[in-house]
Structures are given as structure tokens and as C-alpha cells.
Amino acid sequence: MAQRNDDSPLSPAARNLDAPAGGLASFPPSDRWSDWEEYDPAEWPRKVGRHYTLVPTICFNCEAGCGLLAYVDRESMRIRKFEGNPLHPGSRGRNCAKGPATINQVNDPERILYPMRRAGRRGEGRWERVTWDAALDDIAGRIRRALVEDRRNEIVYHVGRPGHELVYNQRVLHAWGIDGHNSHTNVCSAGARTGYAFWHGADRPSPDHANARFILLLSSHLEAGHYFNPHAQRIIEAKARGAKVCVIDTRLSNTASKADYWLSTWPGSEAAVLLAICRLVLESGAYDREFVRRWVNWEEYLRAEHPDKAPTFESFERVLRELYAEYTPEFAARESGCDAATIVEVAREVGRAGSALATHVWRNAAAGNLGGWQVARALEFLAVLMGAIGAPGGTGVGIANKFIPAPPLMPPGPKAWNELMWPREFPLAFFEMSFLLPHFLREGRGKLAMYFTRVYNPVWTNPDGMSWVETLSDERIVERHACLTPIWSETAWFADYVLPMGHASERHDLLSQETHAARWIGFRQPVLRAAMERAGRRFNSTWEAHREAGLGEVWEEDEFWIELSWRIDPDGALGIRKYFESPYRPGEKLTVDDLYGWMFEHSVPGLPEAAAKERLTPLQYMRKYGAFLVEDSVYNTHEKPLNDIEILESEVEEESGIVSRQGAALGVRIDDRYHVGFPTASRKLEFYSSTLKEWGWPEYSVPCYIRSHVHRSNIDRGRGEMLLLPTFRLPTLVHTRSGNAKWLTEISHSNPLWLHPEDARRLGVATGNLLRVTTEIGYFVDKVWVTESIRPGVIACSHHLGRWRLRADTGGERWSSALVDLNQVGPGQWRMRQRQGVEPFRSGDPDSERVWWHDAGVHQNLTFPVQPDPVSGQHCWHQKVTVARPGADDRYGDIFVDTNKSREIYRRWMAMTRPAPGPGGLRRPLWLARAYRPAPEAFYIR
């Protein structure tokens, strides 16, 4: 069968790469991947053949985990290009602009190839080359001492894009016995995760876009986000089939521009709009009564909150209608500024779609607003009402579409709880309170003996970056800081060690993302090593292959953690080493082949059989194809019946129907049938959260609309106040990871302030003029982009740009960073001024002299105070600002910050929290998921 020229999309992934008769094929047939000849386009039209070995790997730019196929020249052993991997079930051979741009990152003349050690004061910018041995010994020694002296909470690993997306880094930190994982999630998706988790325990949705009839997005998945490329493919497929799309987003994103309905809501009003749609669905009776009756915990709700009412579904329906009566379309229109008639029309579309309603919010409103987590909860409420949860074309539960192969010998959760990440003030925070770390440390809540940053740039990415600079500069509270990074960053500048780790094509990882209604795994591998091993070479470690390929001393993290763990516990006395020994060769050091080979042999159903068919070992199979589809068409997993043995061995709680064995819930009884249900306390979808009530938030026990900190009533436009929407992505960039991709930077390098013409007239500015935007802790000066694509009263600024460096020739990507002066002008008062923008520079890449742009953008995040949501812990990104014409001394890119004020605002938001302990002296509800979950006893405050 032809895989193209066939009007239907590739699904789930190409099984046959043949060209249609007389036509062209999309990809070389996989049986010729080991030696594929292609004409050299540089020599064309002279036909000069080149031989490549095609090695699959996984993109490392966003979290989608799309497949790549590296073309490695068999002669020179250099990577010629990256195409898509047609056998990858999520991305199906296709990529966004960031996929092919991987080659820029690999060939970046600015990348770091050797480990460096700070030579002067921290942050002074003097570096010397150091051996890996010296760095590893020093770091291992410090960790060992901290463990032996029981200072285990002084070791923190802070990660942005994990790489080890699944449990493999948890394995490392738990082997050390520490609760040391710190992520970026609370500046990112924690708001949405919280909203989802309170419904169904799992923290992600998995919309089945391809089969949807109506797609409701509070996101921009046709241009960005997780999972941009896999989702965009499927959304457009659905559209082509006739599905309608509605996008709720304040600014006109590319996604909104492709939608049938665009609701430009006043930021923070989204839950009001969604609940109005819910109300319309309830009033009209268009909801799925049977699904709601069976799967929503309405009985628990009536028992707890309406004991006077009849415990029947009909009475729940009446209560529901009363509860949401206030959310009229007119109310939603008043709050959001959107047209009430459009809201009604969208509700009609939802009703027509039935259970084929695919919905998604990930960051957007959920990450911008106080109470943003209720936006996700309101959106999921709609999906629940329509019976869309887990349905074909509906909105699945993330975990149903993810597969996590178990590694050999998983260590138990540690008996430690690190309050630097999981403080008592935020018992329900969905992830670590990472962005508050500087404040915690400076308040005296602890110190760090060893701090790792990995693909994470908190100085730049997090709000209040100057507090990070102050904290990271203080060697008393951050004793050692190692930055694991392939490139310079604002944060690496304040490290003691800068340790070069591999890019996408230079490391091992195992991934599984909920891109659609299936389960798959993808295998990231170091392609040069794989190519050389195909050619018969053997390497003990990836860095040896890299050294041979001319990649300096670039390591991969798997081997880094294994090596570090051996040095922490050389004789095995601490009980750590055993986790880093080969399952095949007892007592010997674990290799990546051991680790992944073991998992592919033991933990992936169907893979050993598929490999055997091709006379390959499972590891060889994954090295050859790079991905494996574990299960296709995964729907309605909550309906899965419990088997008889499970039922026999279990207890069933009469009132709730919860089935449990030895205290662990297994499923739920509904209408005398037993199902696995959802991973919530009730095993049902929790319209009513007893947890929220018990943990001090009774007013939020059901989905409702929380007025944001940037509600209209808080913004006085007459006084020059506006709402700054500082979080939107561009299709070509990804945070601070893409500044080294010249082809991406050339397309996007400015982040002007989007300003509606009405506001531009009021302020007397035109496109290109400057404005000073003042926050509660400082200000920044940026240029204006006058546009109809933003709501009046709101200014918007993309968060990708504004990179800076302090030295002309090092410390930042010259493709994309401005050279700045950073001066402390008073205690806690910092001033940054651009000395020059991007300029052409001389390097090994002649393109660096062809750089034609000068703009590096403006770094707005420095001027934002921390604004933690008291429930989800999410940083609430939206800012109330004062916008004015610049002063005489103001220049483009100027930034001023007062960290004294940062601390003031921090304390103001901390005062909104309702700290643990909760019921039973718990730090956190036991049922609620937690990253890197410690042992149960750690959950109790002693």
C-alpha cells in the first residue's frame, strides 16, 4: 500500500515506506537505512552520490518527543541532516521547524565541548578547563559527605526539559535516598495539571484530535506547546474532515487564526466562559446523562454537601443547574469581553459534537492567573458533561496514552521530604515550588551543598531572575553549582562547573508522550556512536565515541549519573552502587546498553516478539527503528473491568463502591460491575473534591470561577494601567533552548509589545516606538508592535526572546543574545543596559558573518515578582503593569529591578497560602500524585 498519494493520513505510523506506483516516496525504505545513497545537493546537477547510515533518534527541543532520522555520512562520520522518523507513532515522520534545526545546534560553533571550572569569583566569568575526573570526584565527594552527614536535603537537581522524561532520573535520585528533584513545572504547566488532577487524578489530558467533531483549545497547538507537531497534524486532519475548532486565547495566535471560533477573553475570565458553556449544556440537556451518572462522584457530593436532598441523580442534576445558574452567557460576556451570542454558538457546537469533544489547556490561562487551575477544571467539567473522557474523538486521560517501561531494580521512595521544594505552605502544589527557591534560601530555610541545573535557565526563565543572581552568587547558601548544559546560558554563568552534555542526537533517553489515543515509546540515542557501532566499532561509553567523532568531551547524562553514583558509593557501603551495576554482569558497572537492553527485553510488551521476527534483539530493534507502538486505539481505559481474582481478594466499601486491596484502591463498583476507574480517591471523576475541602479550600470544592489577580476591576486604564500577557510562544522557538539555531533565530528575534491601535493612540505611539512597562518590582523598555490581534487594554509580549550575555565573546549565544552591562546601583537594585545587540561574528561557521539582524529582544521576566497560586503553586505569570512613554534616559532593552520589592511581593503572596498539616498530620494528600514520590512515612509531619 502506498503511504502517500493516499488521501488518508499515516496512521499510526508508516508500516510501508514504498512509493506509490509512478510516484515519489517520502522516506528511504527502512531495509536500506544502513546504507542509503543520495545525491549531494551541493554538487547538483552533477550526480555525486553520498552514502549515509540512517539512525533514528528523538528531537530534544520541546517535550513532544518527535522522531528524527539522522543521516550520518558513512565516510566522514558527520551528521548531514535530520529528517523525521516515519516509524514514530506520534510524529509520523513529520517535524516542526525545530526538528531540522537540530543540525544547527549540533554544529553550533558556540557550543561548549569541554568541562569548565570557575576560576574567579562566582559570576565573574573567568573559567578554566577541567578534567571530567576532577569534576566528578569533587561533586561525588560533596554528595557523599552530605549523604553520610544526613544533609540529604542539601542536594538538589533542578531540571527544565528532563531528557529522562520517565522514571529514569527518579531512579538515580531515589537510589541516593534523596528527595532532590526540582523541576520547571510550576512556572509552566502546574496550574493546568492541578485542575486536571482534581478531576481524574492524572495530570494531563490526551485529546483525540484526529477523531474529534469539535476541538476546544485554550492553547496554541497549531504553533507551539506540547505536543505541537503531533497535535497539529491531527487537528488539521480533523478540520479537513469537517470538525470545527474553537480557540480561547486573548491574542490572535496562528492557532486562533485557523479556528472557526476565536474568543479573545480578558485574561483570567476563561473559567467564566467555560462554566457558561457548561451551564448551557446543562440547561439544554445536551450532556451525557448516563456517563455523568456512572462516572461522576455525585453521590459523595450530595452526601457531604446536601444531606437534606434525596440521594438521586435527578436531585444532583437539579443542584447542578442551581449551582451554575449564575454563569449566564451574559455574565461570561461581561467578564470576558466576548460576545454572548458566540459563547452560545460554541455551546451549540459542543452539544452537536457529543462525546467527540477534544479539549486542551496546558499553560495559557491556567499559567497566567491566580486560580488558573480552575480554568483546567472548568474545561474538564465540560468534557465530563459530554461524556468525552476516554471516548473516541474525546479527551482522554494522559496516563492512558503513556507507557513507562520499568527499569531494572527500582529503588524505593526516600524517607525524606525536602521542604525547599515542597514547603508546608503549598500542600496541594502539583510540582515543586522551584521558583521560590531563592526566597526560601535567603529566608534561612536551608542551604545547598550541591545544586545541579540541567537544560534549565532559572536566571532567565523564572520570574524575579535578579533574586536568582543574588542567590546563586552567594557561595554560603549555594555551596556548589554544576550546570549540565551543551550551551552557555545566563544561569551557567553563575555556576562552578559547566559540564557539556549532549544535544538531541548525542544522548540516550526513553520517551512516551500522550500525543494521541495510543501508547508508544521512543528511543533517543547518540547517533554518531550508533553509526560507528554499526560500522563495527565498539565503545564503552558515549563520550569516547564523541571524542572520536571530534565532539570534544561531550558526555551523556545516563553515563554521568552512573559514573557519579559509583564515585559517591565506590564500595557499595551506602547501598547506592547496586542500582548502578549491570543486571547481566553482577558487580560490574551498568552500561547504557545494559539499562535499555534490559528494559526492552523485560518491560515492553510485544517488543521482544517484534524484534525476534526480524532476528534482532529488542535493543537492536530500537536502535534500528527508534520507536515502538505498544498499543493502538486506546480508549475508555477507566471502563476496564477488574478481573475476578482482583475482586475476590479485595474489599468493597459499601457506600462509595471503592474496591481496595491492602489499603490500595484498585477500582470501583458501578451498577454492580467492577471497573478500574480513575486514580482519584473515589476512583471516579471528582466533580466534588473532598480533598480541597479538607485541606482548607472548601469554597473551591467544586469547579468554579476564581477572579484573577488581573481581573478587569483591578486594572485602571485611566491611570495608565494595563494587563501584560507575557507568555506566548512562537512557532519557531523554544524558551532558551533554541537561541543556538541560526535558522530559527533568523526567522524570529524580536519580542515587541503587542498593543491595540486604541491603546497606541492613547499612548501616542506607533510601531517601533518605545514604551516603559513598570511592574511591581521594576521596569523594562521595549518597542511597540501595533496590532489588531490583541484585546484593547492588554499588552502581550512573547517570552522567548531577550537573551543576554555579560562578555562579548563568551557566556551566551552570539546568534541571539545582546551584550549587556549589569550593575548594582543600590542594595538589591539592579540596572541592565544593552551595549550592543546581535552583530555578525567570526566563527567556524561562515554564516555567523552573515547575521543581518540586530535585535535580541527584551528580557521581561527579570521584572516580574513571584506570584505563586496558593493552591496549585503555579507562578501566575500575568502582570498588572503601568505603561508609559519612556523617559529621556530610557533606551531599548533597559531593565531595572529592586529585589527588596521582590521579597515584599513574595511575602504578600505567601500570606494567601493555607499551610499543611492537613488531615492526619499529612503534608500532602496521599492519593494525590507527586513527582519523585517519597516513601509514605515522609508524607507525615513529625
Binding site: A42, Q233, R850
Partner: protein, 509 residues
Amino acid sequence: MRYGFVIDQDRCIGCHACTVACKEEHNVAVGVFRTWVKYIEKGEFPDVSRHFAVLRCNHCDNAPCVEICPTTALFRRPDGIVDFDNSRCIGCKSCMQACPYDALYIDPKSNTAAKCNYCAHRVETGLEPACVIVCPTQAIIPGDLDDPTSRISRTVTAQKVTARKPHKGTRPKLFYVGVDGDLLEPATLTSERAYVWSERRPDDDTYEVGASNGAAAIPGGARVVYDVAHPAPWGGKAALYLWTKSISAGALMVAAMLTTLLGVDDLTTNIVSPLAALIFTGLTSLILIADLKRPDRFYYLLTKPNFSSWLVWGCYILMAYSAAATAWLGCAIFILRVPTMLAVISAVLGIATAGYTAFLFAQAKGRELWQSSLFLWHLIVQALIAGSALLMIVGIIIGAASISYLAAMLAASIVLGFAMVLGELYLPAISEDVRRAAELITGGALSRRFWGLSTIVGVVIPLALLWIASAETGTDGAILRVIAALAALGGLAAFESIWIEAGQAVPLS
């Protein structure tokens, strides 16, 4: 077999993956693009929309770039792909003027022209182009338009498709589904000096053509929010070339008229004219070569000629004209007279030298201003202005007798030339592009140069001085006439540069 593309803008999400995948496949340098995505916005909040178009080579069946390319570096393959061989390219940039779609650029690595070649090197191994396979939404459909069963043929047959500028007669093989019409009408769009997330290069579209007074006044009118730069390929050297060529062509045209019609037989006609023709033809050739991005390959014009290109014919004409001038000079020196037949032949070659550019510019299909039907005649008149002005200056210096004839010819040709200018700029425009270009000259950014230099200095002052000088005798008259001739030459130079700039000011994409 005819390979073509359908680009389905209903599916396109404007993500730039095709742009970057193409850059990767062909290692395209920073600053230039084989394929790119243009964004426009229309309407007012909240009824505002954004639209994308993927722009690139249209692989025209009747490709003007192939026709104009002097060295057959560009060619149409039997399978319909318009491909190129950069080892044959001399970097004359005429293809960039011929293409109405802005598809070509000069590759800074080789200083030769390049563009989308449909990944011909992949097609030959049976693979789709790089942009096709990367596209997340499968918006780019490649295939054989001659095969009625191919997906592309079925799409073109069954769906409403649009092509860019079909009136150009290029027979493009790139068809759009669902494209917003404004995206294909670049001249009607407004823009700012910046884009939504990028700078705009200072050398890109230096003039706001029509935007300042046209569509910008319409609230919510279509405006460009992202595009890539397409700097004008030709600059001062091209204008200078037109100018020196006018002098060169005019020298023998004027001399031939003087000798054959008026019986003048003096140092000016015999020696100065052929010398001037030779010197200025030589200068013209040198400027031409200097304007090549690969001057080292100038001889490819002779060794790898494309006989459909007027650049090649121009080269032969310049050589023939130089031969005639040499013969003229030889006759004047060795047989002390110029045979009438030689004078006639020289005059015809002079007309050809002046006029071939009109045919070359007509092959520059992208530039509508240059398609003017008066252009050929205007070039000949320009040569008469330049020739008579130069000969008069030299004639006055060496004390020739035919000055009054030359003055009269100069005055007459200036009047005639100005009439043609007015005709080119004020007669009803054949297209919107021409109207905008003309407006740029008469009332836009080029108007000060046009009215000040080209018209006052180049027309009014010389005519006035020649009129005054006609009543003067002796030194004063001579000085006035020299100034008039210099002014006329200066004005002509100004006009050439205005013509070159205005012709390229209307955006093609």
C-alpha cells in the same frame, strides 16, 4: 511528466518547518531563502484574521528565468522541474528580474543564483522534496500534473486552485488551495518597517509603494506581518550601464546623421565619435562585468550562450557595434572618409545598442514598469541626447564646426525624450504595478529626484541654456552649451537610476 506543487493553505499552519527543512537540505545561507512563509493580517479586533502563504519557485512551464539566463545555468528539465547549474551562472541577476515571484536569490557562498529546484536530487532517487516530508499537516502536495491519477492532479481538478500572476504567461505549476487572495497581490498590501517577531532588513523594499496613500488608509486593510527580504537586485551599476551605453550608442548614431544627412565631415564625426563609441562601449562592458556577481566568468556569455536571452544578443550587438566603431575610426584614419554604407550600418548598430535593452528589460517579466511599449523608442532618444551632448562638449573644446547642429539635435531629443517620459509615467497604466511605480516617480519617494534632477536639471535647464546660447556667440555661448550638455547628461543619469529603482520598487511577492 510535469512535476508541480499544490500548497493547501487550508492545511498550512504557518510553522516555517518547510523553510528550515529546505535550508537544511540545501544548506541555504543565512539571509536568503528558497521557500518561505509570508503572513498577513486583515480586519479589526475582534474580527481580525491572519493568513499564510508558502512562497517559492513556481516551476513555470514557460519560465522567464530560463529564457533570460544568458548561460543556460537555469533550465527546465524534461520532468518539468526548473533546475539550475551554479557552475554555469555568471551572477548577472537578470533571472531575479525575470521571475515575477521573487523566487531567486544570490547564494552568498558561491555568488551565483539559486532557488527551489524541487529537490531534483531527491526526485532522481525517488524521494519527495524535503519541504513535503517535513510538513506537519501535509499541506504540500507534490506530484505529476500529467498523470490524471496522481493526488496533485486530482486536487487541481477537483478543488478550486489559484496560481500567482497567471497573466504573466509563465504557466506556473504551483497551485494554491484556500489561499487568501491578498497574499498573492503584494502591491496592495501595507507594511511597517518591522515585522511581528523579526526586524525588517533596511535594504528590503526601500520604498513604501502605494502603501502610504493607498490601502493604509483603509482600516483593517490587509497588511504584511511577516515576510523575508528581497532587496533590489540591480543598483547604481545598472543605471550607470544604461547611461554609458546611451553615450556610446548615441555617438555614432549622431555622427552618422551628421555625415549622411547633413554632410558634416570633421574631426568630431570622424575621430571623436568612433573613439567615444569605443571608449563608452568599453566602459559599458566593464560596468556590466563589474556588476556580475561572478565577473571571473564573464566569458561564459560567449562560451555557454543562451540564444533566447537578450543579454547574449546584447553582448553580440556591443561587439558588432565596437567593430563598426573600429572600422569607422580605421576608415577615418586610413582612407580619410567614412563610407556612407558604414555610417548607415553603424547607425543601425547604434540603434541596436541603445535599443536591445528594451528587449532585455521586456524579458525581465517581473518588472512591469520596464515593459513600457515606449521604452525602446525612449532608449533610442536617450542615446541621441547622450550622443549629441557628448559630441557637442568635445566639439566645442576642439572647435568643431557642427556645434549648432548638435545643439539643435540635443534640444530636439531632450524635448522628444521628455515627451516619452511623460508618456511612460502619465499615459493610462497597463497595470496596477506600473501605476504604483509611476506614482513613486511622479509623487512618491523618487519624485524629488525626478522633478529636481531628471526634469529641471536634465530638461528645463539644458533647454533654457540652449535657447539662450542660440542667441549668443563666442565663448559665452560655448560655455552655456557645454553646461547645457553636461546638465542633459546629468539629468539622463538621474533618470536612469530612477528608472532602475522604480522598476524594482514594486514588491513581487
